[in-house]
Every structure is written in C-alpha cells, then in structure tokens.
C-alpha cells in the first residue's frame, strides 16, 4: 500500500484510541470526584491532565461551567499547574474543546481527517460512522450537553468509538492497512496504560479502595481485576495487573504482544528494526523478574514509554518514509538519456517525535 496511506492509517488508529481512552479517563475521574473533597477532586483532575501529558491552556478557566465550581483550587495548586482549575470546566475542555490539542473532539477531528484521505481504503461504513460522530461532536450544543450531562455524553463517545472498532474488525479487509491501523491503536493503548500507572502509582500507597477503583476504571479494568485477583487490592498488585496481565486487552504486555504480531506480519523479512525493538521491549517485560520489575517501577515505565515512542519512530522511518525525494537534477528528463535509477537510501531528514499524537502529526 502507499506509504502515505499506511501513515494515515497508523495515525487514524492512534487518534481513535486516544479519543476513547480520554473519554474513559475523564469519566472515571469525574465519577471519583462526585463524592469527594474539593482538594481531592482537583488533585485527581491534575493527575488526569498529567496522564494525558497535556498543557492546559489558560482558556480553560474561561470555559463556561454550568455546575459552578465543584472545587476551587487552593493557591498552591494554582502555581503548580498554572490553572484556575475548575474540575467541571477542565473535564469539559478535555472532551469538547476543539482547540485543545488532545481533547476528544480534537482527536476525532484528526481521525476523521486521516480517514478522509483514506476514503478509498476503508469501508464506507467506517467513514460514515466516523463522519457521523464528528458531526455530532461539532454541533453547537455539544459543549452544553457535556456540561449538563457529562456521564451520558462520555458513554456516548465510548460507545461510538467502540462501534467504530467493531466496524473495523468486522467489515474491513484485514490486510496491510488494517494492520497499520491496529498498530496505531495498540501502541497508543500501551502508552496510555503506561502513563496511567506512572501517574497513579504513587497514589496507591494508601491502598484506599477509592484510589484503586479510579485507577482501574480509567482503563475499564476494574471488573477484570476483581475477577483476576481475590486478595484485597495492593498497589503492587494493581500495577502488576495493568502492566503484565496476559488476558486483559489493555495491559501493557497484552498490547505489546498484539503489536508484535501485526508487525511481524507486516515485515516478513523478519528482523526489521521496529520489530526487533518491540520484541526486546516485550520480552524484557514478559520474562523479567517480577520483583525487580516492580522495585524499579518508575524507571521501568519511563523506559517502556520511550521504547514505545521509539517503535513509532522506527515505523515512520521504516515504512512511511522509505522512499526519498529524488533529486530532480540527477534525473534524465528526455527519453534516450539514461541515468542512475536507484533510489538513494539516505536516512529520513524529517524525524518525527512521536511522543504525543496531538502535536506531531503534520496538519494537512
């Protein structure tokens, strides 16, 4: 397939996943603030913003809030985060702000733009679905709806994203394009779970059920965790579950395995750099000593995050940019005059920093 199409597929997958994950996390956070002290609520919203690695713009404070400030940020938080934080307003911005890079609306917008340039590649059903979601999110009353009825709105977004995933897995040919799309989805998912653990892990020490539930619910893992673990929840236990569980589809290990499977189908020659790097990362996680892993958790998470970003860079280099721009002057442009025909294999000049899909994808 066209390198450009492969790249658009990958990013469409990342944006879709980011949108769904963000909606999930906002929902879990809001849910946890309902019956909590204002200070806690603000703190949790900050964690969420940290997980999403977002710089909240100052305009957040200007977002109209129907439910007037559940929490007023104490001055210390003000200076730390630069936010006149209003939990509701922040949640609304994370979901509905079209200008906040990384908000749900923004991600769906980008996913749609990518699918738009893929209209000959993806089933019409998929295009209609994303277009419909996009149109709903851009309706003028959407922000108000989010403010008035956040839970229902967030559920709507989750269900819409899931039905997109459904269309993808049930009516799209599972060829190259599909694999790039799924690669984008699972890499993004691994990244988000990873960040969630690193932001929330320090909070789990007190081992209150509430903190535990928020963490797990952020990736829809509460029920799966409760089934898998009979003992009363411990921080290390939760971290291990989210990191290493081999049947929960949002655990980091599960995502990396998934990626690996698709990558090896895409690079039949075997030792393609992205596959090699991914394989190293995954086996370190899979076969590493549990105690050592958990003992050095923060460092490990940083390493995985960097590793996942590296794989995304590798993908870009290996699949999306493999053909360089030809030097026009070296080309024979008259018939009969022959020229060297091989394509220079110089490394890409444009290196993509794939840290955050919200800022890196070139705008069309």
């Amino acid at each position: 397939m066209l390198a450009r199409h492969a790249e658009d597929m990958f990013w469409a997958g990342r944006y879709l996943e980011r949108a769904e994950d963000t909606a999930r996390m906002v929902r879990a956070t809001l849910l946890s603030t309902v019956a909590n002290t204002p200070t806690h609520a603000v703190e949790r919203m900050e964690h969420l913003i940290g997980t999403l690695r977002l710089e909240m713009p100052t305009s957040v404070s200007t977002v109209q809030s129907m439910a007037q400030s559940i929490a007023q940020a104490p001055p210390t938080l003000h200076s730390q985060a630069g936010l006149g934080i209003d939990v509701q307003a922040a949640a609304t911005a994370l979901v509905a702000s079209p200008t906040l890079a990384g908000s749900v609306v923004f991600c769906i917008d980008r996913a749609r733009e990518n699918f738009r340039s893929l209209r000959d590649q993806v089933p019409s059903e998929l295009w209609e679905q994303i277009n419909q979601l996009h149109l709903r999110l851009r309706q003028s009353d959407f922000t108000a709806t989010m403010e008035q009825d956040p839970f229902q709105t967030l559920d709507f977004i989750r269900v819409s994203c899931q039905s997109l995933t459904g269309v993808i897995s049930t009516s799209m040919a599972q060829g190259e394009g599909y694999r790039f799309l799924v690669l984008g989805t699972t890499l993004e998912r691994a990244l988000m779970t990873c960040r969630l653990i690193s932001v929330r892990y320090p909070e789990l020490d007190g081992s209150s059920y509430d903190e535990m539930a928020l963490t797990l619910r952020s990736v829809s893992a509460l029920e799966a965790y409760q089934k898998a673990s009979r003992s009363s929840p411990l921080a290390a236990d939760v971290a291990r579950f989210l990191l290493l569980n081999d049947s929960f589809p949002r655990s980091v290990l599960y995502c990396l395995r998934d990626c690996e499977q698709h990558l090896s189908a895409l690079a039949p020659e075997g030792k393609a750099p992205p596959l090699r790097h991914l394989g190293q990362l995954r086996s370190e996680l899979e076969y590493g000593d549990l105690h050592t892993l958990l003992a050095g958790l923060p460092a490990l998470l940083t390493k995985i995050e960097a590793g996942v970003r590296g794989v995304a860079d590798d993908l870009s280099h290996y699949f999306f940019r493999n053909a360089e721009t030809l030097d026009l002057h070296s080309q024979a442009i008259c018939p009969g005059v022959s020229a060297e025909t091989n394509i220079p294999a110089a490394p890409s000049k444009k290196t993509k920093n794939t840290d955050n899909p919200t800022t890196q994808h070139p705008q069309p």
Partner: protein, 515 residues
C-alpha cells in the same frame, strides 16, 4: 416556449412518466419533507458534499438532489446512445489526428489551422505522445439539452476531466433507499457498473510492455479539491490506489509510487489534475500537485495518462462548432445529435450579426467550464452587454455566441410544491476497446424559477436520471396482483407483502440456536 419533459401538448402526463407521477401524487407534503430530511441526513452522514469556492460561509454543502427523477424511455435513449458514441469516436479521431497523426483534417481544409494553434487547450507538449488505441479521451461528459421542439442538442463537450459520475451513482443509491416503491416494474437500467467499466477501459490502454496485469491509479490533487469525494469514489469502485502527486516519482522515465515496501511501478494514471499542474518540468513550474518528469515518461511510452494531455483542443467552444464536420469527415456519417446553433465571432459576417443581436444571444468564453463567464443576452444588463461587446471586439477568438436554448422543464420540489424547472443532462461516455455510454447521466436542474443556469457551482441542483429498459410494459401498472385469480379477497389491496406471517420463535425450543 419550452418543451415539457413530463407533459405532452394535450396536457396529459407522458406515458413513461405516469407510474412515477402517480407515486408522487399519493404523497402528502409531510411525506415529502420527511423524505427530503432523510435524504439530507444520509448525504451528510456519508459526506457527500461539494465545495463552493469563494463562498465564505461553510464552503462544504450537502449535495442538492431533487426527488423527482428525469425519465428517458428506451427508444429515445437508443438514439442518444448512438449519437454520443458517434460524437466521442469522432472527437477521439480528431484528437489523435492532431497530436499523433498527420493533422489530415487541417490539410484537407475542414478546420483552419489557426483555430487549432490558437486554442488555450492545445498543448505543444503533447505533440507526438501516442496513446494506445488512440483513446485520448477515455471519459467524456457531453452536455445535452432539449430545445423547444423537443429535439436533443449538444451544448458542450467535456473531454478533459468531466466530473459528476459519482453523483450519478450516489443519486441512484439514495433514490433506491428513499423510494424503492417508485421503481416498481419500471426496469430502470443500472448505473452501478461504472467503476468496472472504467477499469476495463483503463486496462485496455495500458502500455503494451507492461503485460496483462497493469497497475492503475487515480491521481488526485488531494482532500481539499472540490471533487475529492469523486476521486475517492472512483478509486474505491475500481479497487485501485488513490495517489497524490507526492506519492509518485519518475525514475528514468518509469513512474512509480512510494509504498510501504519501496517503489512500485505504475502503468496507467487516471489523472484528475488539470494539464497545467501535471508536471512542473514542462507545465506550471510552481505546481506542487504534479509529478516532475511525468510527461517525459508518457512520451517514452512507459505510462499512459487518461485523459490525455491537450484534450482541451477538442472541447474548446470554437472547435465545438466544427464537430458535426468532424463526424462527416472521420466517420463519413451524418451527425445524429446536432449542435446548438453557434456563431463564430472571428468570422466577420457572423460577428456583425451577433453584435447586432447581442441582447438575444448567449455569449460564452471558449475555454471556460462550470458556467463561468457566460452572458445571457435577454437577461443581461446594458452594462454587461457593453462589456461583452468590448470583450468580443478585443479578442473575437475568445468568444462564441449561441442562440438561447430554452431548456426543457421538469417538476422539482421547491419546498411547497412541485414546480417546473429547467434541466439539462450530462451523460458519460467511456472509450477503450469499446465505446460505452452509461445509461442515464447527471441531470442538472436550475432551482430558481425561470433560471437557465444549471451548474452546481451556480446554485443548480441535480436529479436522478432513469433510463428505462427495452422490455418495458409501458402500460401504467393498474393492477399489481395480476397473477393468480385465487388471491383471497380478504388480502389487503396494498402492495403485496413478501413476508409470510411466520409465528415468533416457539418459546419451548432450545435456547441459543440458529438455523
């Protein structure tokens, strides 16, 4: 005086419109607006939109399709079909004669040389670039109108990048969903095979050296082009890649696309980028849409471009006046569908006559399309007529004049009622190994009362076009239940239901079972 498509001189509904008219007669205004709403939602959801340039408020509009279809009966269509094949075949002969033949038509004095060389669409870069089968125009869109006498005339040829076919197919898809019952028993001919037919035509003009499995791509300017929807549609329906200029490279006269596995050779490019932007080496050097070296590759014969470069010489409105002569010259046949009466303004006598009757005629710039720059004499202000006169005197080669064709009328829903509106028809012709006319085409309708301007860029709408099959019952379907006389009298008189009233799943059956 207008020809009414659906009413005859006696004021009766023409027979081929009767079933549909009856169907519409049964609808209440509430039904109709519900259908319209359904239609808009469906187009919006599918993103079937078009872009209006230079329009500040929301440049993307949903596609305007009127619910009342244009219907063409089988006999009439047969004539149109023959006429279009004849015309496009002659035009292809002409283009090939000019660019890679001996220019016999000039040598024989049928068309003056200066007319050809003064065409803006005449591309010297295309000289002696040959095209397999001489199929320089693979896709043609011929604009037909019906004058007051009811006869069809050709108003314009579009031989460069005629667009609209995707709307033909989407209109049909929408109509089928919105009003399936209206199609009943009419044997409306299908348009859905267009993608396959286009693919076959494109395969047939692949460079002979590339073997029997040529790689075909559609080349688009990108998502911001007004016809992007159509480009994607075509690529999808042919099952080929939709590429942009930046996806292609030319290496030693071979065109290749950048794929995830390196470069892959391309044999046929159905390009939807205008000549001027196709190749910065020989055309507009600032074009970033095109592919450097593409023309050289086409010249070397490693790739075929469709439609060919330089087709503008065939749809120049001054050359248009000579098409009937081309048909006589190349095919030795009489034209089946005539041209609209046209005056050439560089001919002294014709110019004088036109300038005297400027307020009665239509003045068109020769190289424009999309309805831009047209002056309709009877409706123009004095100032507009004055400008037109100055323009003609300044550069007579750039303009033609035509008698006003009073386009035929057909009802269209204006929100309150069905009212007559003027229409034209753009059928699409495919040329490869064989020449094929897609049954129907894009019916365009002027939505403003009395307006003759049908271009969608100028506020026109569209209609689905139904070509009826030959084995037409042609009688108004009076009694649908014509078959067994044993039908119980108690059965409802409405349309026969297909589903027998099966009892719901028996509750005693085992759970979780599928037949």
């Amino acid at each position: 005086m207008f020809y009414d498509e659906h009413i005859d001189a006696q004021g009766c509904i023409r027979s081929h419109y009767q079933p549909v008219q009856e169907w519409f007669d049964r609808l209440t205004p509430a039904h109709l607006s519900a259908l319209e709403q359904q239609r808009n939602e469906s187009f919006r959801r599918q993103g079937i939109t078009f872009t209006v340039y230079g329009n500040s408020e929301g440049t993307e509009r949903t596609w305007p399709m009127d619910l009342y279809p244009q219907i063409i009966d089988a006999t009439e269509w047969a004539t149109i079909e023959r006429g279009l094949c004849q015309r496009v075949t002659a035009l292809n002969h002409f283009l090939d004669d000019i660019y890679s033949g001996t220019q016999a038509i000039i040598a024989d004095g049928i068309i003056p040389q200066r007319l050809i060389t003064s065409c803006t669409g005449f591309e010297r870069e295309a000289m002696n670039v040959s095209v397999p089968l001489g199929a320089r125009c693979v896709v043609a869109g011929i604009d037909l109108v019906r004058g007051a006498d009811g006869g069809y005339q050709v108003l314009e040829d579009n031989l460069r990048n005629p667009s609209g076919i995707s709307y033909v197919i989407e209109n049909r898809a929408a109509m089928t969903k919105l009003m399936p019952a209206a199609f009943a028993n009419l044997a409306v001919r299908s348009v859905n095979h267009y993608g396959r037919s286009l693919l076959r035509a494109l395969r047939s003009i692949a460079p002979p050296a590339c073997g029997d499995d040529p790689t075909i791509v559609v080349l688009t300017p990108g998502v911001f082009n007004s016809a992007y929807f159509e480009h994607a549609f075509l690529a999808r329906s042919m099952g080929v890649e939709l590429v942009e200029g930046r996806d292609l490279v030319v290496d030693n006269h071979v065109v290749a696309m950048r794929t995830t596995r390196g470069l892959e050779r391309v044999d046929v490019i159905y390009r939807r980028i205008d000549d001027a932007f196709l190749d910065p080496v020989v055309f507009n050097p600032h074009s970033t849409l095109g592919v450097p070296g593409l023309m050289a590759a086409a010249r070397a014969g490693t790739v075929t471009l469709a439609n060919s470069v330089g087709n503008g010489v065939g749809d120049d409105k001054a050359v248009y006046a000579y098409v009937p002569n081309m048909i006589r010259y190349y095919l030795n046949e009489q034209p089946i569908i005539p041209n609209a009466t046209t005056y050439l303004l560089w001919e002294h006598d014709q110019r004088t006559e036109v300038l005297n009757r400027l307020d009665e005629l239509v003045i068109k710039p020769v190289a424009e399309s999309g309805g831009y720059g047209i002056v309709i004499g009877p409706k123009a202000s004095d100032a507009e007529l004055h400008t037109a006169r100055q323009n003609i005197l300044k550069d007579p080669r750039n303009w033609i004049a035509q008698e006003v064709v009073n386009l035929s009328r057909l009802p269209a829903w204006d929100g309150d009622e069905f009212a007559p509106r003027h229409i034209d028809l753009r059928p699409f012709v495919l040329c490869g190994e064989q020449t094929e006319v897609i049954p129907g085409g894009l019916t365009r309708v002027a939505m403003r009362p009395g307006s003759l301007i049908v271009n969608s860029s100028q506020g026109g709408g569209s209609k689905d076009t139904w070509v009826l099959g030959t084995n037409q019952p042609n009688q108004p379907a009076t009694a649908p239940e014509a078959s067994p006389a044993t039908t119980p009298a108690a059965s409802p008189a409405t349309a026969p239901e297909a589903s027998p009233a099966t009892p719901a799943n028996s509750p005693s059956g085992p759970a979780n079972r599928l037949s």
